[in-house]
C-alpha cells in the first residue's frame, strides 16, 4: 500500500511544548464510566493517535476535549486555559472534522463554507475557501448542494471547513474513513504538510492501523475507557510483545468484548 509517513522533525529536536493537557479525566453516564481517570497531553506540532475498539471511549474523549460534554471529574486545559470556562476563546483556535457529522445538507458547499468562515471570523474568506477547495481538489463542488455529495466528497468538504481558521489544534475523527486510497493518500499528505508548515497539533483517530502508524508521532490505546498503553509505535510494540498495531488492536478488541460480556452477565 502506498502511504505517507509524517515524520516528526519536532521530536528529533526533543521539542516539548504541551498545548493540550487532560488531567485525570473521567466521564460517567448513568453511573457507568465511559472513560475513567485518563491523563495525556498533546505537544505543539505533534500528531497524537487515539486508538481503541468501538466503545473504548475515543469519541467521548474527543467530545470532552471540545467541551461538548462536561467531565465527571478531572479537567481539560488547552492553550493553558480551562475548556469549560473559556470555550469560545479556545474553540476559535481549534477545529474538528468527523466522518460522522456533516454540514447543512440543503445549502450549497460554498454557502456552508461562507457561514463557517464568518463563524470563525476569517478575513478574505472567499480567497481562503477557494485555496482550500483547490488544495483538496474539490473546487468543482462549490456550487453543489451539500446533501448531493458522496460520503468521500463530504469528508473533504468537512476537512476544508476544519482548516478554515488555520487551527492550532485539529481533532480528526476517522478523517479518511470514506475516502478511496488515492484521495486518502492526498489527504494524509496535506495534513502532514500543514503540520510541518503551521506546527499544527493533531489528534487523530482511525481504525486503519497502517495509517495511524505512518501518521502519528505518539499513540494512546484506549480500552474499556482506560488508557491501556501509550507511547510511540515502537515503544508500544516492544512493551506488548506484539508484531504489529493491527495484532495489538485485535487482541485488545477481543479482550474488551469479553469484558463487556462479563459486565452483562454480572448485571
Amino acid at each position: 500500500m502506498t502511504h505517507t509517513t509524517c515524520e516528526s522533525k519536532l521530536q528529533d529536536n526533543n521539542y516539548y511544548e504541551p498545548v493540550l493537557q487532560a488531567k485525570n479525566l473521567s466521564k460517567a453516564f448513568n453511573l457507568k464510566y465511559a472513560i475513567k481517570d485518563i491523563s495525556f497531553h498533546l505537544n505543539k506540532g505533534e500528531i497524537l493517535g487515539i486508538l481503541g475498539p468501538n466503545g473504548a471511549g475515543k469519541t467521548t474523549t474527543l467530545h470532552l476535549l471540545l467541551g461538548l460534554i462536561k467531565a465527571t471529574s478531572g479537567e481539560v486545559n488547552i492553550f493553558g486555559l480551562n475548556i469549560d470556562k473559556n470555550r469560545s476563546e479556545i474553540l476559535s483556535r481549534m477545529n474538528f472534522s468527523s466522518a460522522y457529522i456533516s454540514m447543512p445538507y440543503n445549502l450549497s458547499v460554498m454557502d456552508n463554507l461562507i457561514v463557517f468562515s464568518r463563524l470563525y471570523q476569517i478575513k478574505k474568506l472567499k480567497e481562503k475557501i477557494s485555496y482550500l477547495l483547490n488544495l483538496f481538489e474539490i473546487e468543482n463542488l462549490k456550487d453543489k448542494i451539500t446533501g448531493s455529495l458522496s460520503s468521500g466528497q463530504n469528508s473533504r468538504v468537512n476537512l476544508v471547513k476544519a482548516l478554515l481558521n488555520e487551527p492550532e489544534i485539529l481533532l480528526l475523527d476517522e478523517p479518511t474513513a470514506s475516502l478511496d486510497p488515492d484521495i486518502a493518500l492526498k489527504v494524509r499528505t496535506i495534513l502532514c504538510d500543514i503540520r510541518e508548515k503551521n506546527r499544527t497539533s493533531i489528534i487523530y483517530t482511525s481504525h486503519n492501523m497502517e495509517e495511524v502508524e505512518n501518521m502519528c508521532d505518539r499513540l494512546i490505546f484506549l480500552a474499556n475507557g482506560k488508557i491501556l498503553i501509550q507511547g510511540t509505535t515502537n515503544e508500544i510494540l516492544a512493551k506488548t510483545g506484539k508484531s504489529s498495531l493491527e495484532e495489538l488492536f485485535i487482541s485488545v478488541s477481543r479482550e474488551q468484548s469479553q469484558h463487556n460480556i462479563n459486565d452483562i452477565n454480572e448485571e
Binding site: F29, E89, S92, N95, I101, M103, S108, V115, L119, Q121
Partner: protein, 261 residues
C-alpha cells in the same frame, strides 16, 4: 460577536433561498388560516352586525405573530439537528447567547414578512386594514414577538434535552396556551378559575389591548405595561430553563448521542 450572529442569520437566509417549502411555510399556511377565519367572521357578522370581522382577523394576524415567532426560534434549532450540524455549531466559537440572538432575529424577520403578507391579503379580501388601527398596535406586536421568543427558548430547551422525540412541540406549544390567552374572545367569558392562568401570559394583555384599540380606538398603557413586565419574567424564566437544559445536555452527553442517533 456581530460577525458570528450575522453568520447564523446568513445560514437561515441561504436555507430559505433554496427551499420553496420554507417560503410556503411563511406564506401559505398563514394565508389558509386567514381565509378560514376571515370567511367565518364575515358570515357571523352578517348575522350579528358587530365588529366581529376586525376582532377575528386582528386575532388571527396577531396569533400568527406569536406562533411564527415561537416556531421559527424552535424550528431553527431543530433544523440543526436534522442537518446533523449541531456539533459543528457547538465546536465553533459561537456563544450560546449569540446563537439565541441570531435565531430570535430570524424569528422577527419571519414574523414581519408573514404579518405584512397577511395584512395585505386581509385588506384586499376582507377590507380589513391593519394600518387603520394605527401605530398603537406596534408595541403590542413587539411584545408578542418577545413572548414568542420566550416560548421558543422553552421549546428549544426541551428539544435539546429530548431530541427528535420532542419535535412535535415546535408546533404544539403555542396551542397549549391558545384557549387561555383570549385570542378570539375576551377573558371575561372564561370561567373564573381559569382567568388567573390567562393573566399569567403576556399575550393575554396584548390580545385584550388589541381588541381595545379595535373597538374603542383606545391604547391602554396598563395592558401594555403588564404585558411587557410579564415578558421580562417569562424571558428570564425561559432563559434560565434553556440554560439549565443545555447544562444537562452537556452533563449527560445528550448532544453527542442525538447526533449519533
Amino acid at each position: 460577536m456581530f460577525e458570528r450572529i450575522y453568520a447564523i442569520i446568513l445560514r437561515f437566509v441561504y436555507l430559505h433561498k433554496r427551499s420553496m417549502p420554507r417560503i410556503m411555510e411563511i406564506m401559505f399556511w398563514p394565508f389558509m388560516n386567514l381565509l378560514v377565519w376571515g370567511f367565518l367572521s364575515v358570515s357571523i357578522e352578517k348575522m350579528t352586525s358587530s365588529t366581529i370581522v376586525s376582532y377575528l382577523i386582528g386575532g388571527i394576524i396577531f396569533w400568527d405573530v406569536l406562533y411564527r415567532s415561537q416556531q421559527s426560534v424552535s424550528l431553527s434549532i431543530t433544523d440543526e439537528f436534522w442537518a446533523r450540524n449541531i456539533i459543528n455549531l457547538f465546536i465553533s466559537p459561537l456563544k450560546t447567547y449569540e446563537l439565541v440572538t441570531a435565531i430570535c432575529f430570524v424569528g422577527l424577520i419571519k414574523s414581519v414578512i408573514t404579518t405584512t403578507f397577511m395584512a395585505i391579503l386581509a385588506f384586499f379580501i376582507f377590507n380589513f386594514s391593519l394600518l387603520n388601527l394605527g401605530w398603537n398596535l406596534l408595541p403590542f406586536y413587539m411584545n408578542l414577538i418577545i413572548f414568542g421568543w420566550a416560548l421558543g427558548m422553552f421549546t428549544m430547551g426541551i428539544i435539546f434535552r429530548y431530541g427528535r422525540a420532542a419535535e412535535a412541540l415546535i408546533w404544539g406549544v403555542p396551542f397549549l396556551i391558545q384557549p387561555f390567552t383570549g385570542v378570539f374572545y375576551p377573558i371575561s367569558i372564561l370561567p373564573a378559575w381559569i382567568q388567573p392562568i390567562s393573566y399569567s401570559f403576556p399575550s393575554t394583555y396584548i390580545f385584550e389591548g388589541m381588541r381595545n384599540v379595535i373597538q374603542n380606538n383606545q391604547f391602554d398603557v396598563h395592558l401594555l405595561t403588564n404585558a411587557f413586565l410579564l415578558n421580562i419574567v417569562w424571558m428570564i424564566v425561559c432563559g434560565i430553563f434553556f440554560g439549565f437544559m443545555l447544562n444537562q445536555v452537556r452533563e449527560k452527553g445528550y448532544l453527542s448521542r442525538q447526533i449519533i442517533e
